[in-house]
Subunit: 341 residues, 2 copies
């Protein structure tokens, strides 16, 4: 079994940087689109056989060094008492706007999301002697922000409005969300996930002071709980250049860095306390190949300045990316022997 | 005349931090909405009497220390050969996708935007013995990105695709855009604008390396040209925490900082080379008032660590902001005598 990814997560010596790609099972692949023609997104997430099928597609087609469960960070919202729909952006109903709304939120039994663990168990069988499987979930602030907004948002003014006007209510919400995510991610590990990525997709809308009050403590608690299970944790806060000082304290093994910040600089800002993951600009994969090669090598070089490096894009792969360009990236990274450690 | 703002721009001693608000003439004001019920956005920009009227509304209603011309950063696109429409987001047609498209772009005579200068001349008369008038335009990268995308974008993949696949074409486009903006902003100063703000609204989507190649050199050239006229220049790159090291070289008098980065920290990252402008989170103005006061004071305190501070929001005021909260902010800032310099 190719255990490069797991060794890199733990900061162990590796022959080369492992690579996987955020949203590697996705619309840019014809095989994925063929499945999606038959079922909608939520059904795909909830059907273990289909989630398993699309999770495996990029392992076969690209030869990446890790698989990541096909699912969505909003999966826990349904058992918490929200309807979940994609049109195509996520819509959660009813949104949380008051203390009474927070009161009504259920902390679900993790077993209510058993279809996720079933997919994980099927995947572990399929991936035996191949590559490790990553499970994932939202960071508490990000899931809470979705529950309050009811959908994606430009300014997240409802969430911030709640934080600024009713901080006690915001914290009560974050408590419930954190407890839910703890049970959910522990159950993913119990089912067989070999590493967990925590996505703090909206952390970047916060100032460092608000992040330190409303996001970091809950992410840290969640990460600690997952780490107790023994698997490594990747914490990926998008657009977080202004938060790197604070992120030092999150306790994860790996810090995901978006394409904005050079990995060497990010590692320095993080006091070299983390293996770093990233961070090619997803737009580079639109081509041409020579530019992909040139920039991938630049990322690899920057990665050597950190205590460890897992190659990835700096954000999810774009739907109109040519598959052959993704393959070219994987081949480039896997062919480049890093003389790091 | 209240010249606090102009003195602060130049780093001179001021009795207190001046305040103005990005998008202070806007939908949150009933008087503005009343005008907009009669004319569309483009017509409003092109009608000097109406642009003057809405520019003055917040001076009367809030008592801010500076006026900013009511206009739009995309105004120069029309004479460059694009149709411009707001639905409500901007739509530019035809978008630039090739070297031939760049070839077709006109560098307009600045006089083709004479309605802007006419508004500036009217405003200077109206504002006599009141407050200074700020003119503005896009930074070259931001205007170029709009011309390529044809509209707002999440990933700006067309612009980045052009930069990565055809850098020579991207630079040719940026050249033409910069020359256009130079003439446009010089003409604003000639008409009477007493300071110029350059908005690099999309710089934050770039890595520092790409910013250093495709954005900073053109912004720096534009800023130098405007400074030669004798007026101070404010450079505001949204979401630029990862770009602050590079921004040190831009040559502006004032660096606008969004709400993400504490002003004291930002000033340190900028080697204390700039007066800073900002940076209350616009969502704070949704209320309550005690929180507005508390956070405004925190911003004022951080601002004392910079060589000068102009109070502003960290981004445009939100359309559903209560006017009384904006007024409360202005009163708070104007009532707080900073013991800085």
């Amino acid at each position: 079994m190719n255990d490069l990814f797991l060794r890199a997560c733990r900061g162990e010596a590796v022959e080369r940087a492992p690579i996987w790609i955020m949203r590697q099972a996705g619309r840019y692949m014809a095989e994925y689109r063929a499945v999606r023609e038959k079922v909608d997104f939520v059904t795909l997430c909830k059907t273990p056989e289909l989630a398993t099928e699309v999770t495996l597609q990029p392992i076969d087609a690209l030869g990446v060094d890790a698989a990541i469960l096909f699912s969505d960070i909003l999966v826990p919202a349904e058992p918490m008492g929200f309807s979940l729909d994609f049109r195509p952006g996520p819509v959660l109903d009813p949104p949380v706007r008051s203390a009474a709304d927070v009161e009504r939120i259920r902390i679900p039994d993790p077993e209510e999301m058993s279809y996720v663990y079933m997919a994980i168990r099927m995947l572990r069988r399929e991936l035996e002697r191949r590559v490790p499987l990553i499970g994932f979930g939202a960071a508490p602030f990000t899931l809470a922000a979705y529950l309050v907004e009811g959908q994606g948002s430009k300014n997240f003014d409802n969430m911030k409005g709640l934080m600024f006007a009713e901080p006690v209510t915001a914290h009560a919400l974050l408590e419930k969300v954190t407890t839910t995510l703890e049970g959910y991610l522990e159950a993913q590990v119990e089912a067989g996930a070999q590493a967990i990525q925590v996505f703090d997709s909206w952390a970047g809308i916060l100032s460092e002071a608000d992040y330190a009050e409303f996001a970091l403590p809950y992410a840290t608690r969640l990460i600690a709980k997952v780490k107790k299970t023994g698997v490594p944790v990747i914490y990926f806060a998008l657009n977080s250049a202004h938060l790197l000082d604070a992120i030092r304290g999150c306790g994860a093994n790996v810090a995901g860095i978006d394409w904005r910040t050079n990995l060497a600089l990010a590692s320095r800002r993080l006091d070299h306390k983390f293996v770093v993951q990233g961070n090619l600009d997803p737009c580079v994969l639109l081509g041409p190949k020579e530019e992909i090669t040139r920039r991938a090598i630049r990322v690899l070089e920057a990665g050597t300045k950190a205590p460890g490096h897992i190659f990835n894009l700096g954000h999810g792969i774009l739907p109109h990316t040519p598959v052959e360009n993704a393959r070219h990236l994987v081949e480039t990274v896997q062919g480049a022997v890093s003389a790091t450690r």
